[in-house]
Symmetry: C2
Subunit: 413 residues, 2 copies
């Protein structure tokens, strides 16, 4: 009987750009019994999580907490809380998720200006800065790591230009946080959105964000506490139109995440446990060591892919460490290869979106999935699958090339 089946999740090697395998220690804490949301034992966990998130984000910002929803819930909470109808937003697009920033901004009434570069490359900071100076937007929103094209955008110079031009700089770091360096304060980022299901190795369902006083000042001007719990003083501070969404209203959420503990939603207990453990593990490993680990396994994967005779997609200088895009050899059905990898090997790699669909595979090296055994098994699986389908590739070279990379490192990280 279909509707009474016991949950059945077969083992997988997940090498997509997310969701990736959760750390077993994270999975274990998910089973911790529930606490009430205003239990001091729970608010302590909330505070500890904020403290650890600040360290992960490399920021002194007061506000660093998760939105209870998937990564795009974090994007929407930040954009919806900042953007007022008619605001000018500048979004340089270099892949799908630039379109998403544009889409959400427009839904909240922004007048969005885009420049776009070819998918597979990124912008010279100078080009973006020129456009900021020319158009003087209120907000600049950008993706840091584009999973759709496997590119990473340099941000620091752009952030500095935003600050100089009094624009708010909002960054989507969902694909990079915990995998490569993200410096919120040093890069002049005013608000940043992360995701859990990629390099943090926590299941999907929370979106840690951070924002500084410039953003807080803006949000506080829009403060509206909901009926039934608002005090008279609550709504008197408002000098700008209130934020439309209740769920994503950062003026209420920051009161929930402060000592006031304003009753808003009921915090997602188990997911917060998972985030707490995921970030704790990450900081215990150490940011620099973790970034080096991501670099190493990417290097081994890329060496294996190239040794097989396959080519990488996109501009090499802007390659994102955590996503490797591989051009599907001509005559090969990419989806057919992906199915075989999943059905025969239990390995999942990804396809891509829009103009790149059917043209590239995307292989993630993120978080707990970013391991030597996973890289070696994925190369082995891909080689065997391609050979089985009659593709002309170099047999037996990929694993040797990857092992060469591992052997050349003094310490396996």
């Amino acid at each position: 009987m279909l509707n009474k089946k016991i949950l059945n999740a077969p083992p997988r090697t997940i090498m997509t750009p997310g969701p990736v395998e959760a750390d077993p220690r994270v999975l274990r804490v998910l089973g911790t019994p529930i606490l009430g949301q205003f239990d001091p034992a729970f608010t302590t966990i909330m505070n500890e999580t904020m403290e650890m998130l600040r360290e992960l984000f490399q920021t002194k910002n007061k506000w660093a907490f998760p939105i209870d929803g998937t990564s795009r819930a974090g994007l929407e909470a930040v954009l919806a809380s900042i953007i007022e109808p008619g605001d000018t937003v500048f979004v340089p697009i270099f892949g799908r998720f630039g379109h998403l920033l544009t889409e959400i901004s427009e839904r909240y009434g922004a007048v969005v200006h885009n420049i776009e570069c070819e998918w597979g490359s990124v912008f010279e900071p100078e080009q973006v800065i020129r456009e900021i100076k020319r158009t003087n937007p209120k907000i600049v929103a950008m993706v840091h790591g584009e999973t759709s094209t496997g590119r990473v955008q340099s941000l620091k110079e752009i952030g500095k230009a935003c600050r100089e031009n009094d624009a708010l700089f909002i960054v989507d770091a969902v694909a990079t946080i915990g995998g490569i360096d993200v410096k919120v304060d040093d890069w002049y980022i005013d608000a940043l959105i992360a995701g859990t299901q990629k390099c943090i190795s926590v299941p999907s369902g929370m979106a840690p964000i951070t924002y500084n006083e410039r953003v807080e000042h803006h949000i506080t001007q829009r403060k509206k506490v909901e009926k039934g719990i608002a005090t008279e003083a609550d709504n008197n501070v408002r000098t700008r139109p209130n934020i439309i969404s209740n769920y994503f209203d950062l003026s209420q959420l920051q009161d929930y995440w402060s000592d006031r503990r304003l009753n808003h939603h009921t915090e997602a207990t188990s997911m917060l446990y998972a985030l707490h453990e995921g970030v704790r593990i990450l900081l215990e490993e150490g940011l620099d060591i973790r970034f080096a680990r991501h670099k190493l396994h990417e290097k081994a994967l890329v060496a294996g892919i190239k040794a097989m005779g396959l080519s990488l997609f996109g501009n090499e200088a802007s390659k994102l460490t955590t996503v490797t895009c591989v051009i599907i050899p001509s005559g090969i059905n990419g989806e057919d290869v992906r199915s075989t990898l999943l059905d025969q090997f239990g390995i999942e790699i990804a396809s891509s979106f829009g103009p790149l669909h059917g043209k590239i595979w995307r292989i993630g090296t993120m978080g707990y999935s970013c391991r030597q055994d996973n890289v070696l098994y994925t190369l082995a699986g891909l080689e065997a699958t391609l050979l089985r389908k009659g593709t002309l590739i170099n047999a037996g070279k990929a694993l040797q090339a990857a092992l060469d990379v591992y052997d050349s490192e003094l310490v396996h990280v």
Copy 2:
């Protein structure tokens, strides 16, 4: 060092109106390894969950799936996807969560008409129906079980009147689903929102919803698939203004939860596992047996409270099975009692909101927390705490009265 602490969650007996204790079997499946969102093994779990939710909701609706967020994310998804600026919404208010329905509706541009009855009572259906006929609203939104006052509203006659007046009937059943009877189809409910953290005994973080073809028809007219993945055909069906929120856009979510598997968010894997198991357990127990269990433990709790000499708050005829509101005896500091219960006994009960804050305690009997041992321990803890603070109550009577209830039942459920 504060920011590297291992997660520490002490054991608790949680007798609030939510979040309550998660079923240990639910906690166990939370540790199941991750699957990719488009892995056939995962989409099978998505489909099984939809099938089980239909049974829980007692509906033949095609659409029954969770929103990835806490309960109010479900409220906002439904209201934001239906309401267009200028729409008339009628919300009869009998507690805090009627205010929340009003609040969210107004944020999305609705013109809301309210009637309010004294907190502690509910509406005669005739009164609501008269108002529907008089004002002819496009939408009627109501709470089924009000946790803030511990009341339950009779809905069937109101639902019938909505259908006859061509109004859409939206119901917040967060506090009742899985604990008392909720009949979506029989009661003419067009859209219903549930929560996981109360009678379903799954952690907070998902909001299962259902809606029928009347609502779907409306949503489809507002369809907007986001940039970067929309096909030309996608946005041609739109004849009404698009839904503002991207995250809560049911026109995209229903494409994600159908065979099309439109890429929207990354489904919250572990929480879906938990929901799947929670609803499976619930249906395995059987709806009627589960409702009878909730009745029994409420009866024992109420008998104990009364035997102690305490009084219940509110109109008896409309008492909500899953929440018992107790009047705080005069001269007693309610928060002080709650603190002692938590600190000495590890028992959590709730206070209330707005006009009832400091006037009543609220004790939940919900889901996995709704058990004989929990009821007996809570009564023992409350009695001992009150005696310790010098309250004049009947000593030694509460547990005897509760045991009398249990003994009088042929079968302990």
